[in-house]
Each structure stands twice: as structure tokens, then as C-alpha cells.
Amino acid sequence: MITVSNLSKSYNNVQVLNLESLDIPKGQSFGLVGNNGAGKTTFFSLLLDLIQPSSGFIKNKEVLVNESEDWKPFTSSFIDESFLIGYLTAEEYFYFIGELRGQNPSDVDKLLSQFSDFFHDEILGKKKYLRDLSKGNQKKAGIVAALIGNPEVIILDEPFANLDPTTQIRLKQILKDLAQKQGVTVLVSSHDLMHVTDVCERIVVLEKGEMVKDLATSEATLKELEEHFTG
């Protein structure tokens, strides 16, 4: 689904990302871990064409990401709060994203109804603007919005951070289902090794922009990761 080739990104001659090649097949749940500054967000930003690669390219379903906009209809993402429109209520925001992705309000409602336990009655029907919600609730809204419109690729940067335990557990289930049952390619980054190993079939460790480990998740993975980061 996603092919990375000779991808690098430097700022002022300092290389922050350098991936020789990486292939993420369709329907894989892919986890990205690494310390701060490892290049996780940089990679996701390149994937969304928010920054320009210094060399190399990314292909998303055979579409060259930095040359064509055709990847947008089947790719969705939530990176940070700047993906939210602060002056909309959660519903308005979902409908807006729905409209952009060719979904009418009832389609959106149908999708949202599956997430009532996820929202915990704190998001829908609250008559509050997104900017007035707590950080955690904002995040929930952003993540759910990324699921609207049957995307084939979903990119989530640190989806577990700031969430309460109940929601974390629920989110893990949602992400697993997406990959296994619906064949959605899910890309997740996280600082929480436990969560990633729970969710992802494959985990890549980045260090200073380089890929240092590429693991197929198994019983031993968590241990291996912990050892790696203990140094």
C-alpha cells in the first residue's frame, strides 16, 4: 500500500530522517516507536505531504505523494490539534469532514453511533466548541474524525497519549478491527511500548531518523523493545 524509497529530510543540513526503503502492505497495522526527535512525526508529515522530502519519495497506493493530490480521498489522519477546527462543535466538525469525504450526515451519524462508549457522553450533544473541550476529548474527536468516510489508510500520531485508560483500551480494539476485519492500513506512532505491541502486527524503531529495528510482533517483542530502550 505504502512504499518508501530513499526518503530523507534535512533541515539546514541536519538530517532528521533517512529511510532507505520501507514497504507497508495493505491491511497491515504498523507501529512506529522512537524517542523524541527520532523522526516519527517527520515521517507522518512527509506521508501527508505537509513537508517536502529532501530526497526520495513516498508512494501511497501507487500515487506519488509529493506530486499528486490523488491520495487524499482514501487517506485520513490525525496528527495534532491543528487538525481540529476550534470554533465548531464536535458534530459540526464530523459533518464537515463527512462532507469533504462524500458522506451525508446520516452516514456520519451511523458511524458515530458505534463510538458512543468511546465518547463517554462528553463530546456529542454538549453544545461546546471543540476549542473548549479538554485535551483528551479533543483528541477523541480528532481520532474519530479520521475514521469518517471509509479511508484505506489511517495515520495517527501518538493516539494513546492524553487518553483515559478506558478509551485507550477501546481505541486499541477499534484499531485492531480496522486492520484485521476491514483491511485498512493503520499507521500509529507511540511512546507507549505496551500499547503498540498490543495493536500493531509490525513495529519499526526509529533512532535519529534511521530505522534500527523492524519487528513482526510476537510474544517476545515487548521484551525486546524494552531492552532496546533501556539501552
Binding site: L50, D80, S82, L84, E99, K128, D132
Partner: protein, 491 residues
């Protein structure tokens, strides 16, 4: 303690990103401040002689006293519009062992060195000096001047109390206009009774106690007000208002750009900054009054009328349009990664401006009072706005990469959000072009030919809409990464 605050303040000022941005902006700001300060000083110094000459039978001090009421109302309006209580970074100070009252005194004290207070100072200090030089009694003049300064400060503090609600503003503006109207048509002169009060203030220096007491009173009220709200959930965090969702589904008839239009309407109606701009563009409607009431312009310089006509319907276009991508700066990454072609985004903004020009044109109907020539001119100006200025504005937007904080009011001279010299350059053709297009056929053929030329240019622009939008889209596309990077910069 105060010294530490001052050093914090200093760092905040010089390390702010807008201050570090560019020397050009700094120079422009300083020039702007000098310009306004200079005008105030010149006006203050010259006021005496102007009044002496135009109304030789009345003592200038009395004339000034008579009109002070308008100055005060005007100042209050401007302050309401532009001045905000500087909430200094209270939050980190709350848990540090500093007395709350110290922080509040400092906060209030700081507001006294606001730009707005200096306007009054620059205006009345030279005037007072001239008075003394002309042999007016020193004690009277000095105390009168001090009283005025007290009143200025009262306004300063009053503003923070009334600033919270817009109702005050909506009362103030019509009141101001009504008073001017009544005065102008000799129906009731508010300036006379109030003038008596100020004259009394001048004649009896002891009366300074009244404004002084007022000042102390209002300072204390402000103090209590802030003291009461000095908790995280009051002063520091903003009030959460309940949303009243509006049904905008009727806009769906605009087809593929409907979601954007709906979003823009919500953006404008729910955020402080765009609301301010909307209000400002409403005032543009009255711009024509400056020109059409003076026969000089109509008879000798009708090309300036083309400029006025463009301004009347172009308020929103000029003030909102020039910041086009910036309005969406807070969630630009979303727009760039969502399923949105750039073209649709730009087109929706174009329609928004067209609608605004049309609405302004409808609102400008009363200008028929000045004659059909004028009204046709406004119509031609509106066409020009729709057909050409919209595109120039969108083009200018592509070069504008300054993020805007949507829900914060713009402050005069302390906030250069969404302002840069490129904007000024882009603004020039928007204003000069209509004059040129009108002037040439007017000089060589006739007034009507000028009108037709102006309207025709606009119509041509509409015909070539797709061509222009394509070009503009390409420019936006090219600057995309730069824009994203600039917008995600922390303020």
C-alpha cells in the same frame, strides 16, 4: 518585584515572534507610531491657532471644551474596538509567592502606558503649552490639563469594565452618530451644557478633585473586579459560552463549495477577530460620506470618487480578503491533508467576497440621495471589486503567511498578526487601479465613459474567472509547504 515584572515584560516584547520577524515591520510600526504621534502633536499645537482663526469671536479654550464630549466618546469607541486588558501571563504567577495585589496593581499600572493614553497626552500637552505661552493663567491651564489626563485614565479603566459586552458598543456608536447629527442640524447641541462643565473645570482648578475622585473610584473598582477573578477558572481561562448552532443547510445549494462557505460563516460569527473585521468593513459603507458631501470632489476631482465608490462596497473584501489563507491558519494542516482540492477552497473564498460586495452594494442604496451619477459610480465600483479586486486580493493572500489567532481581538500597535509589508504593496493596485481606469476615459471622453470602463473591467474579470483562479491556484500550490511551516510556528 516590579523590576522583575518589567524584565519579564521586556523579554516578552523583544522575544515575541512578530518582533523578531523582520526589520521592515519594525520600521513600519515605528513610523506608524511616529506618524500618529506627530499628527497629534501638530494638531494639539495648531489647535489654538485654527480655532482662533475660524472662530475669532470665541476663546479657543471654550471651543475645545465644547467639543471635548465628542473627543471623549470617540476615544471610548476606539478603545473599545482596539484596546484589551493585558492579561499578562497571570497563570505562572498564581502559584508563586507574590501578593496578588502587587500583581494586580502592576497589571493596572501597565495599562496607563498604553498607546491610547498617549494620544490624549500628545494632543493636549502642546495645546496647553500654547495656552500658557499666550498668557493664559498657568494654574488654570495646568489643572485643566491634569483633569483631562484624569479623564483619559478614567476612560482607560472604564473600557476594561465595559469591554466585556458588545451591547455597550452598540449603544455608544448610534449615540455618537445621533449627537453629531443633532449638533450638525442645530437641533440640540450637547456640546453646550457639557462645555459649561468643562469650562467650570477650567475656571476653578479646585474642581480637579472630581475627575481625580472618579479616577480613584474606577481604579478601585477595576482592582476589586480583577481581584475577584484572580482564579484559574475566571480570569485566566476564557468563559465557555454555550453554542447556539445555526442551521445553514440552505447554503447547500452552492454545491461543492457549500461546506467551505458554511464553515466560513461559522468562522466569522464565532470568533472575535473576524467579527472585528466584519464590523470594520461595515464602517467602510460610510466612507462615501466624506467624498460625496464635498462638492469639490464632485466638480473637480471625480476620479477620487472612483476610489470612494470602490471603498464603499469593498470594505469586507479589503479587510477580510487580504488575510485569506491566514483565517484558516489554525487548522491549515487539516485542510491540506483532507480531501480538498485547492481550487474549491479558493473558489469558496471568492464567492464569499462576491456575496459580501453584493450585500454592501445593496446596503449602499441610500447613496441614491446624492444622485444617480454617484450611485452608478458605486455600482461600477462594486463590479470592479467583484471582477478584479477579488482576484488581486486572493493573489495577495498567497504571499501572506502570518498566522492569526482567531479568537483574540487585534490590538493596536502591539499585534502585527496577519500584517506585513507585502500586504501594503498589494493594497496599492487595489486602490489605484479603479482611479486610473476611470480617469483615462474620463479625461479623453466623458464621465459616463469612465463609468463604463470601470464596470467593463469588472465584467471582464468575471468572464475570465477560471483563468485567474487557475493562476492563483498554482501560486498557492507552489507556496504550500512554506505556508504550512509558517502557520504551524508557535506564536
Amino acid at each position: 518585584m516590579i523590576k522583575k515584572f518589567l524584565s519579564l515584560e521586556w523579554k516578552q516584547f523583544f522575544r515575541a515572534s512578530y518582533f523578531q520577524k523582520g526589520i521592515a515591520i519594525k520600521i513600519l510600526l515605528i513610523l506608524g507610531a511616529i506618524y500618529f504621534g506627530g499628527i497629534a502633536i501638530l494638531l494639539g499645537g495648531g489647535m489654538f491657532f485654527i480655532f482662533k482663526k475660524t472662530m475669532p469671536e470665541i476663546d479657543p479654550i471654550i471651543t475645545v471644551n465644547n467639543f471635548l464630549v465628542y473627543w471623549i466618546l470617540f476615544e471610548l469607541m476606539i478603545r473599545f474596538f482596539m484596546q484589551q486588558l493585558p492579561v499578562m501571563n497571570i497563570k505562572p504567577l498564581m502559584i508563586i509567592p507574590i501578593k496578588r495585589s502587587t500583581v494586580i496593581h502592576y497589571l493596572l499600572g501597565k495599562t496607563t502606558i498604553s498607546f491610547f493614553n498617549f494620544i490624549s497626552l500628545f494632543l493636549f500637552l502642546p495645546f496647553s503649552i500654547v495656552l500658557i505661552a499666550k498668557g493664559y493663567p498657568i494654574a488654570n491651564v495646568v489643572f485643566w490639563f491634569l483633569s483631562l489626563m484624569c479623564i483619559t485614565l478614567i476612560l482607560n479603566f472604564l473600557n476594561f469594565l465595559i469591554n466585556k459586552s458588545n451591547t455597550v458598543f452598540y449603544i455608544l456608536v448610534p449615540l455618537f452618530l445621533a449627537l453629531i447629527g443633532l449638533e450638525y442640524y442645530d437641533i440640540y447641541k450637547i456640546s453646550e451644557p457639557i462645555g459649561v462643565v468643562f469650562n467650570a473645570l477650567y475656571n476653578n482648578p479646585i474642581f480637579i478633585l472630581i475627575p481625580l475622585a472618579g479616577l480613584i473610584g474606577i481604579y478601585y473598582t477595576n482592582f476589586k473586579f480583577i481581584r475577584k477573578g484572580f482564579y484559574l477558572d475566571d480570569a485566566v481561562s476564557k468563559k465557555v459560552k454555550e453554542v447556539n448552532a445555526t442551521d445553514l443547510s440552505w447554503m447547500n445549494r452552492f454545491g461543492s463549495i457549500a461546506p467551505f462557505l458554511k464553515n466560513d460563516v461559522k468562522m466569522i460569527s464565532r470568533n472575535a477577530r473576524p467579527k472585528q473585521v466584519l464590523m470594520m468593513s461595515f464602517f467602510f459603507l460610510f466612507y462615501g460620506l466624506f467624498f460625496f458631501t464635498q462638492s469639490v470632489y464632485i466638480e473637480e476631482m471625480p476620479y477620487l470618487l472612483a476610489f470612494a465608490a470602490m471603498f464603499i462596497t469593498g470594505g469586507f473584501l479589503l479587510s477580510f480578503g487580504q488575510l485569506v489563507p491566514s483565517w484558516d491558519s489554525e487548522y491549515y494542516k487539516l485542510l491540506m491533508s483532507q480531501n480538498i482540492p485547492y481550487r474549491q477552497y479558493l473558489e469558496s473564498k471568492w464567492y464569499l467576497m462576491v456575496v459580501a460586495v453584493t450585500v454592501s452594494f445593496i446596503l449602499s442604496t441610500p447613496y441614491i440621495y446624492f444622485g444617480w451619477d454617484i450611485y452608478l459610480m458605486i455600482a461600477a465600483g462594486a463590479l470592479f471589486n467583484i471582477g478584479l479586486n477579488t482576484f488581486i486580493t486572493l493573489f495577495g493572500g498567497a504571499l501572506n503567511r502570518v498566522p492569526i489567532e482567531l479568537n483574540t481581538k487585534a490590538k493596536a500597535f502591539s499585534n502585527t498578526n496577519g500584517f506585513n509589508p507585502t500586504q501594503l504593496l498589494i493594497a496599492l493596485p487595489k486602490m489605484l487601479l479603479p482611479i486610473l481606469i476611470f480617469l483615462i476615459p474620463y479625461l479623453f471622453i466623458s464621465f459616463n465613459a469612465g463609468l463604463i470602463a470601470l464596470a467593463l473591467t469588472g465584467a471582464l474579470g468575471i468572464v475570465f474567472k477560471n483563468f485567474f483562479l487557475n493562476k492563483i491556484e498554482r501560486i498557492y500550490q507552489k507556496g504550500k509547504y512554506k505556508t504550512i511551516a509558517a502557520f504551524s510556528e508557535k506564536k
